[in-house]
């Protein structure tokens, strides 16, 4: 078996291994429902593709890619195989939390979800990439409320850690303390 053939075979095996590492798109830490499909709530009938009351758009891309390059020695043999696996994890939850106001009265409805995968290879290199892209629109839910018996998650933002029920204008306690000291 020639060395070049072994390099190709090795690349193929590496690709198969890299194939096990896929790109994942989720929003498990989002405060609002991030919906795929026409049904917007438990017990609801399927609704139209675009719900009324659109507030703003959000999109996100999660990807995983792998580069593998074989370095040859002067005698034609394989000196070294360099492999790098990297990518961008999903940040959909953060974008949804940033792009929605009240967790109790808004939904994020996804209208475009695409998954892609490709591989490029030559004699001495291999590149594979998997991508999941989503885009959606935040919608106001006219009768949306929070379960009064359940405490909502806190949200970390420019005003520090706040609770969704907390009114926008509320000043954090530590800021009050600072002001009183200055006075």
């Amino acid at each position: 078996m020639s060395r070049r053939f072994r390099v190709c075979a090795g690349s193929w095996v590496l690709c198969a291994i890299a194939g096990c590492t896929g790109a994942h798109q989720t929003a498990d830490l989002a405060r609002v429902p991030v919906l795929l499909g026409p049904v917007k709530c438990i017990g609801c009938e399927p609704a139209g593709r675009r719900a009324p009351g659109a507030l703003g758009n959000t999109s996100d891309e999660a990807q995983v890619e792998m580069w593998s390059i074989a370095l040859l020695s002067f005698d034609g043999g394989v000196d070294q195989v360099m492999t790098d696996i990297g990518g961008t994890p999903s940040s959909l939850a953060k974008k949804v939390n940033d792009g929605t106001g009240s967790a109790c009265a808004e939904n994020m409805v996804l209208h475009d979800v695409a998954a892609s995968s490709y591989g490029v290879n030559g004699l001495f290199f291999l590149h594979t990439k998997s991508v999941v892209t989503v885009s959606g629109t935040a919608n106001r839910v006219p009768n949306g409320t929070c379960d009064p018996t359940v405490e909502l998650w806190p949200v970390s933002g420019p005003r520090g850690i706040t609770w969704p029920e907390q009114p926008e204008a509320t000043t954090p306690q530590h800021e009050n303390d600072g002001r009183s000291k200055l006075q």
Binding site: W12, P38, K40, S117
Partner: protein, 145 residues
């Protein structure tokens, strides 16, 4: 609106760039147009009266697992695939006695992905590229007080 994924153009450019190299791949739109249950990528979902239900108000019944492949030829250009998970979701949720799916995760990669970098053969324009799509989540129903 910006196209969701522009891998085909990128893959083609890479092929030209590397001359004798070869490539394959596929793109698929993931749809659930005929789903009869709410599918949420987050851990919360609403009920009909608009109340937001968190995980602690929901009972996990089973794990949703849907896998599918989309195939393309012509160096990933033909055709633009579509993966519709509606029927499988309806079947699994109904079987589990669930009312919704939360923590939905959409994944691409693994499985038939090795076709995309199959040495030499993916030089051929009719060699199939493939994107394996898997969708997982938690099938839930409301907790009774």
């Amino acid at each position: 609106m910006k196209p969701p994924v522009n891998l085909s153009r990128g893959a083609g450019a890479l092929c030209i760039l590397f001359g004798l190299s070869s490539c394959a791949g596929a793109t698929a739109q993931v749809k659930a147009e005929r789903a009869r249950y709410p599918l949420s990528l987050s851990s919360v979902v609403r009920q009909q009266d608009g109340v937001l239900l968190q995980e602690r108000s929901l009972e996990k019944l089973a794990r949703l697992n849907v896998s599918s492949n989309a195939v393309a030829i012509g160096y990933s250009h033909l055709p633009k695939g579509e993966v519709d998970i509606s029927e499988e979701v309806n079947k699994q949720v109904r079987k589990a006695g669930g009312e919704a799916v939360i923590n939905l995760t959409i994944s691409a990669g693994g499985g038939c992905g090795f076709f995309n970098a199959f040495p030499f053969l993916n030089l051929l324009p009719f060699w199939p590229g493939c994107v394996p799509v898997s969708v997982t989540g938690d099938i839930v129903k409301r907790r009774r007080p």
